[in-house]
């Protein structure tokens, strides 16, 4: 109330004294008033009207009213009621008596109440009020109005009257034809009231149609509208306003304060409505944010739920390509799928924060997301996702490494298998070979050496095979994708390896057995050879002997031959035994070989070319020849005996004849002699110890007698020579045999055609030169005369004549 003093002094003229002022405790009034000077001044009239109307606007809430302000408040009852209605507080109980002192007490109660409200009342006494003192009453009412209707007005730090004025100024500022400076003149043309109404309720007044030239209309319009629509009863009289030079300030203030309360209350209501709107809007926005949060949270959690199993999926097709595909998928996920989700998560977080901040700022409790969508839930799910991502990347890299390693390991495997299989090529067949069953001992020993070397090689390769198996094992444990081929190959290799091992052992054993057998065989072969050779020689000798052409001339000779033959025969059993033994050896060889399945070269005797079969043949020959020889010897024996007889015969005769011849040339015995001689000759008898006379000599003797007989005898001699070594001596025979043997090159005791020709009575110079030393050949050729016999080749030389010459004989 700083300006109240000033305000009061601005009232023009003393005619317009306001009623008794009051001390509000802040400033003293410098006003003069005379109670007695003026009766019912204008202001009084106005104030009466206005105050009465004002009071009634409250009392109507208590279903009562006053008519005369000086009368109706005297009892104090309505005054107290008024105060109660205005303040909303209970006053002490009024006294119900009608006595003056009752009334005074009541009024005092009212005045005390006012004082309790912080108003210092000066010069207002209860008695004057009870007595109906107008000025006093009006003053008191003004006090009440001031205190309860105006005092608490605050507008922009201005209070009470100033505040109210400021309020009017602010509200009417847009209205150019209104200029509120005070609470009297400024309101006189009524436009201020209309503006105030229009400002708050434009639909109630068509302000543009108004003009200040129609103050009455304006005032009436304002008052009517206020009464009808704003529940503000009329308090001012338009006539009074217009006719009075200066409207009563207090009245105007009173009425305007009613406007203030009505509008600012409405305004408060409006602000409250705005605030409610704001709050509702805020709530709505918050709800939207909550919905957004819930939706984002659901989506994100669902996406995480979908995505995490994919990242946790550790299934693999075990190939590098498969892994690379998954890595690419992961990259796409990181590059394209995840970033928007990160944004979503960020949005989620900001939404949450925004929401919580808004709630906090508007003094609300914190937002509580539904179960499972709490910030912690989201954070955990996200962490789980990132963990899965990290795990996936790590796993992916480990997988790639593993598969790389696997690939390399597989390559290694393939290489080693290839090498091994190449080495294995043919070895099984080799080891299965039965070559040792038909080879010689030397070869076998070579094979055995090879086998030893082979076994060493096998041993060396064992590690290789183990390596292969180890690699296969690793491939299995590391889960290589094509384990079938790996395992089958490894198995094949191992199987073959085991077989090879068995075969090798078997072969080694077999070789050793074979070696033993072959060594035994070799021993047998050696034995065989040692015995077969001499036996063979013996057989050859025996056969030779048995085939021996014997030319014996005497029983003696034949006997010796027979004796030899007997000896020979005596040796036959031993020989046979020897033969059997040797055959036995051979049989053993065969048995042994057969028993061990040996054949071929194993059976070949390295020590000799002789075979049992050969020996057997020879033996058979010998065996066969023995009886033959027996026989021939027997025959010879017989013959020799015969010859002997013949000899004796001849001798007998010759011994008779010879001397006879010597005595006479009687040839009667000659013929007989000749016959005997013929026989002798035919029997190959070449000498006769029984008589010195040979046929030759006899013949010679005879020749001397008969040349013709001599010729005939000569012929016979030739014939003898011609027939199997005809009449040559033993020496000559030997000589002849020597030559014969000489030409029997092949020692088979048979002459082939060429050789046989050399035994013919002729021999060619060609042969001589070929067979004999040059000087001997020439010697012979010179001394030999050409053979004149039939069918002789040119250059044939007569051998028989040569022999005759050699021996001093001449066939003439």
């Amino acid at each position: 109330m700083a300006n109240s003093g000033q305000y009061y002094n601005s009232n023009n003229g003393s005619a317009y004294n306001n009623g008794p002022g009051y001390y509000d405790g802040e400033e003293e009034e410098e006003e003069e008033w005379n109670r007695e000077d003026f009766l019912d001044p204008v202001w009084e009239i106005q104030q009466k009207k206005t105050f009465t109307a004002w009071i009634n606007s409250f009392l109507r809430k208590a279903d009562t009213s006053i008519e005369d302000i000086t009368q109706d408040l005297c009892s104090g009852l309505k005054l107290m009621l008024l105060l109660e209605v205005i303040s909303g507080e209970a006053l002490p109980k009024p006294e119900r008596g009608r006595m003056r002192f009752h009334k005074i007490n009541n009024v005092n109660k009212a005045l005390e109440f006012i004082e309790r409200k912080g108003v210092q009342l000066v010069s207002i006494g209860a008695e004057e009020i009870v007595d109906g003192n107008v000025k006093m009453t009006l003053g008191m009412i003004w006090t009440i109005i001031l205190r309860f209707a105006i005092q608490d007005i605050t507008v922009e730090e201005m209070t009470a009257k100033e505040g109210l004025l400021l309020w009017c100024q602010r509200k009417t500022a847009p209205y150019k034809n209104v200029n509120v400076q005070n609470f009297h003149m400024s309101f006189q043309d009524g436009l201020a009231f209309c503006a105030l109404i229009h400002r708050h309720r434009p639909e109630l007044i068509d302000y543009d149609k108004l003009s200040k030239d129609n103050p009455l209309e304006n005032l009436n319009l304002a008052f009517d509208v206020a009464e009808k629509h704003l529940d503000i009863p009329r308090m001012l009289d338009p006539e009074d306003m217009v006719n009075n030079v200066k409207p009563d300030e207090r009245s105007v203030m009173t009425y305007v304060s009613a406007y203030y309360h009505a509008f600012s209350g409405a305004q408060k209501a409006e602000t409250a409505a705005n605030r409610i709107c704001k709050v509702l809007r805020v709530n709505q926005e918050n709800e939207k944010l909550m919905d957004l949060y819930e939706r984002l949270a659901s989506d994100l959690l669902a996406w995480i739920k979908r995505t995490r199993p994919i990242l946790e999926d550790r299934s693999t097709d075990n190939t590098l390509d498969g892994v690379r595909d998954r890595l690419n998928q992961f990259r796409d996920y990181r590059r394209a799928e995840k970033p928007p989700k990160l944004e979503e998560k960020a949005l989620l977080e900001t939404t949450f924060n925004t929401l919580q901040t808004r709630l906090r700022l508007s003094n609300r409790p914190a937002y509580l997301p539904t179960e499972g969508k709490l910030v912690s839930d989201i954070a955990n799910a996200w962490k789980g996702l990132e963990k899965a991502e990290k795990g996936f990347e790590e796993w992916m890299l480990a997988e790639m490494q593993r598969l790389h390693r696997l690939e390399n390991l597989y390559k290694k495997f393939v290489l080693k298998c290839g090498n091994h299989e190449a080495w294995m090529e043919g070895k099984e067949a080799q080891q299965q070979s039965q070559d040792f069953k038909s080879c010689k001992l030397n070869d076998l020993k070579a094979m055995m050496n090879k086998q030893v070397a082979f076994e060493a090689d096998l041993g060396a390769h064992q590690e290789r095979v183990e390596q292969i198996c180890k690699i296969a094992e690793d491939l299995n444990s590391l889960g290589y994708h094509d384990l079938d081929s790996v395992n089958s190959r490894c198995q094949a290799i191992c199987g073959a390896w085991d077989r090879l091992g068995v075969l090798s052992t078997t072969r080694s054993r077999a070789l050793r057995e074979a070696e033993q057998v072959l060594e035994s065989l070799d021993q047998l072969h050696l034995q065989f050879a040692k015995r077969a050779a001499p036996f063979n020689n013996w057989l050859d000798g025996a056969n030779e002997d048995l085939m021996d052409f014997f030319i014996v001339y005497s029983v003696q000779e034949v006997d010796s031959l027979q004796a030899a033959h007997s000896e020979f025969r005596a040796s036959l059993p031993a020989a046979e035994a020897e033969h059997r033994a040797i055959a036995q050896i051979d049989a053993e060889v065969r048995e042994l070989a057969a028993a061990h399945g040996l054949s071929g070269d194993a059976l070949i005797n390295p020590y000799t070319g002789l075979t049992a079969r050969e020996l057997a043949i020879k033996w058979d020959e010998v065996s066969a020849r023995v009886p033959a020889r027996d026989q021939s010897l027997q025959q010879e024996v017989a013959r020799q005996h015969q010859n002997e007889r013949l000899r004796r015969q001849f001798a007998d005769l010759a011994n008779v004849a010879g001397p006879w011849i010597e005595q006479r040339l009687d040839g009667s015995n000659i013929e007989e002699m000749e016959r005997v001689n013929q026989s002798i000759q035919e029997a190959f008898i070449f000498d006769n110890p029984h008589s010195p006379y040979t046929m030759e000599t006899i013949r010679v003797g005879w020749e001397q007698l008969h040349t013709s007989i001599a010729k005939a005898l000569n012929e016979v001699a030739n014939q003898i020579l011609m027939r199997d070594s005809k009449g040559i001596t033993n020496d000559e025979m030997t000589e002849f045999r020597k030559c014969f043997n000489h030409f029997d090159k092949s020692k088979t005791r048979r002459l082939d055609p060429i050789e046989f020709k050399a035994c013919l009575p002729y021999v060619t110079s060609e042969v001589l030169r070929r067979e004999l030393p040059p000087d001997q050949a020439e010697y012979c050729i010179q001394r030999m005369s050409p053979y004149g016999g039939p069918d002789a080749p040119p250059g044939a030389l007569d051998y028989t004549t040569f022999s005759a010459t050699l021996y001093g004989e001449t066939d003439l």
């Binding site: 709800e287 909550m290 709630l359 906090r360 700022l361 003094n363 609300r364 409790p365 914190a366 937002y367 509580l368 997301p369 539904t370 179960e371």
Partner: protein, 127 residues
């Protein structure tokens, strides 16, 4: 919401975080007394059931503080209670009321340290 400030508001540093504590609170009142605290939030508001005001000289004073987040009401989990239901339970709780609350030990929700005081001051650029 202005939580009780434990440290003088002049400290501009951010409040140090420490673990919120769960506290069991038992209130007792005489028959005609009110509990003396304002309840806000609930499942139907999707917000945490919270103590927003504590009236002095009431059973709540000294036991409940502004900002306390109510977890259970007489054993019932607050998460499932609508505001009306929670209010009902509390109102009908007779003379004693059991609550478990979570209290932020510091003014984590307090914005005083960032709230400006006085009129906005403008400074000329460059000064």
């Amino acid at each position: 919401m202005y939580a009780m400030v434990m440290s003088p508001p002049s400290a501009p540093a951010a409040p140090q975080p420490s673990a919120p504590s769960t506290i069991d609170v038992a209130l007792h009142r005489s028959p005609d007394q009110r509990w003396g605290f304002r309840l806000q939030g609930g499942a139907d508001y999707r917000t945490q059931l919270t103590v927003m005001r504590v009236e002095p000289n009431s059973p709540a004073q000294g036991k409940l503080r502004v900002g306390d987040a109510i977890q259970t009401v007489n054993g019932k989990k607050s998460r499932q209670l609508s505001h009306a239901q929670a209010s009902e339970v509390i109102k009908e709780s007779g003379n004693s009321l059991k609550l478990t609350i979570v209290r932020e030990p510091n003014a984590a929700a307090c914005l005083d340290h960032i709230r400006p005081s006085g009129k906005p001051k403008f400074s000329r650029p460059g000064s």
